[in-house]
Amino acid sequence: MTDQEFRKHMERSPEEGMRAVFDEYCNYVYVIATAKLKSCGTKEDIEECVSDVFTEVFKKINYIGEREGDLKGFIGVIAKRKAIDMYRKLNVKADRMISADDEVMREISSGENIIESSEMSERNSILLNKIKELGEPDTSIIIKQYYYNMTVAEIGKAISMTAAAVQKRSVRARQKLKKMLCEVGINY
């Protein structure tokens, strides 16, 4: 969806426009929020963050220009920023210190860090390709578990397996994945 399409949609029917954008980008925003918050937040925190992102996006409709560009990038950046805000709040609540050298802090500037972000992007691409090479149902299990922060019980329900079977497959899949990554020079 382009910026212009989004604006037109919102002018015609705000409720429908919001629904369309939400349905199209909900998974995308959820994955971004999960990556940032899974180490310190709960599922509720992630859902809260996702709703904050879309609230911000809908509020900023007047800022969006007449570009033919994809709305995805715009939403993605807001999602990253909101997730960082939430991460900070959760760490303050938990009384944890955030160092200025922290990756999250560095990302805020993001102006001169495109080399690092490019490397990160490349490594993520390799990781995802390797997860896909695991084959089903292991690919789905790992993706749901790590990119969507789902529990083994939830995954089991989604792919019609018992929680115990999901857990067993997950352990084996992770071991296999480590080996595959090791073969391309990424070690843990």
């Binding site: 909900c26 995805k72 080399i115 992007s121």
Partner: protein, 347 residues
């Protein structure tokens, strides 16, 4: 689930990968989506209500009618000032001409004149463009090299942070990334460069722009945290539809390539344009030697819907380039000022 699994904790997600996962493996249940959408709607209503309930806000503007006669009075006053300036200036010039002492009437004037003549002759005989450049003050060289820094630095990085024709399909290629003795193929897409600041959209025009500001030892990819920068190169090869590699493979990740005589730039996510500018004209020049000096300048951006306000400082090492016979940027380092918002977040 083991949340401490370092395999995934070490990887922060990038927007491209998040998009791939969301498209290829959409995993949110209908109930979860509905819950989050309702939460969003509720927040939207709360926000709108909050705006409406704020009775202390001021709405609308008061119209002010400026009396018409002020315009004519202003015009008359302006004409009177200009006429006074011209008349007064002419009068003073006329008086100066009348009262100017004859040449040689004063010994003091003799010395001054002789000295200035000698200096002029010497300068004319020995001055070349190169020495002029070398003997320009560090401040002059600093301004010359960096006043328009933000207009050109955006082109010279691992990817250009400038406008490209993202609306049309780019050229899809791949390069082999090498790190720690391992290799892997990485997809890269090149989009046509359309930035109006590049008047000459060819590789030669781009190289000329680069060489105007940067010295031969400058590393455009240097960053304290960057690894494997040996995979990158700014200026790539030229291709035509006939010479484009059949397997789509290029040897390095070039920031720019030429295709059918036109410049194409590497696409990194979507448009990645920052609006950085110097905070003021203040320059801080230190460590001055005959052939080098250090320059520090403070910058900030214009915040917009995507980027929040950012402040920082760029430190340049400027050296005199013997080949170019002019000053060039040899090294640069950027430091950001982080604002501690944890107190605000705690409230």
């Amino acid at each position: 689930m083991n949340k401490k699994d370092e395999m995934f904790n070490e990887f922060d997600i990038d927007l491209e990968t998040a998009d791939r996962i969301a498209k290829e493996y959409p995993s949110l249940s209908d109930s979860a989506r509905e819950r989050m959408f309702n939460m969003t709607k509720k927040k939207m209503n709360i926000t709108n209500d909050a705006y409406e309930a704020n009775n202390n806000s001021v709405i609308g503007v008061e119209r002010y009618n400026r009396p018409r006669w002020i315009k004519f009075a202003g015009m008359a006053a302006t004409i009177a000032i200009i006429a006074g300036g011209i008349g007064g200036g002419g009068y003073l010039l006329h008086n100066m001409k009348m009262s100017a002492p004859p040449v040689g009437s004063s010994s003091e004037t003799d010395v001054t004149t002789a000295s200035s003549v000698t200096t002029n002759v010497t300068t004319t005989e020995t001055t070349t463009a190169a020495t002029e450049a070398k003997y320009s003050t560090p401040e002059e060289a600093a301004h010359k090299l960096t006043d328009n820094y933000w207009d050109y630095e955006c082109f010279f990085d691992i990817a250009a942070r400038t406008k490209a024709d993202y609306a049309n399909k780019g050229i899809e290629l791949k390069y082999t990334m090498q790190y720690d003795g391992w290799t892997t193929d990485i997809d890269v897409v090149y989009y046509k460069t359309i930035d109006e600041r590049l008047t000459e959209k060819t590789m030669d025009g781009l190289k000329e722009l680069y060489n105007t500001y940067y010295g031969k030892n400058y590393d455009p990819f240097y960053s304290v945290n960057a690894e494997y920068t040996n995979n990158y190169e700014l200026f790539g090869p030229s291709f035509t539809s006939d010479t484009l590699p059949a397997d789509g493979k290029i040897d390095l990740a070039y920031t720019f390539i030429e295709y059918e005589g036109e410049l194409y730039q590497k696409g990194l996510n979507n448009e990645y344009i920052l609006d950085n500018h110097w905070s003021d004209d203040q320059i801080d020049v230190t460590d001055v030697t005959e052939n080098s000096f250090t320059l520090k300048r403070k910058f900030n951006n214009t915040p917009n819907a995507i980027f929040e306000e950012t402040h920082g400082e760029v430190t340049f090492k400027i050296v005199f380039d013997e080949d170019a016979q002019d000053w060039r940027i040899d090294q640069k380092d950027v430091e950001y000022d982080y604002q501690d918002t944890s107190a605000a977040a705690a409230e």
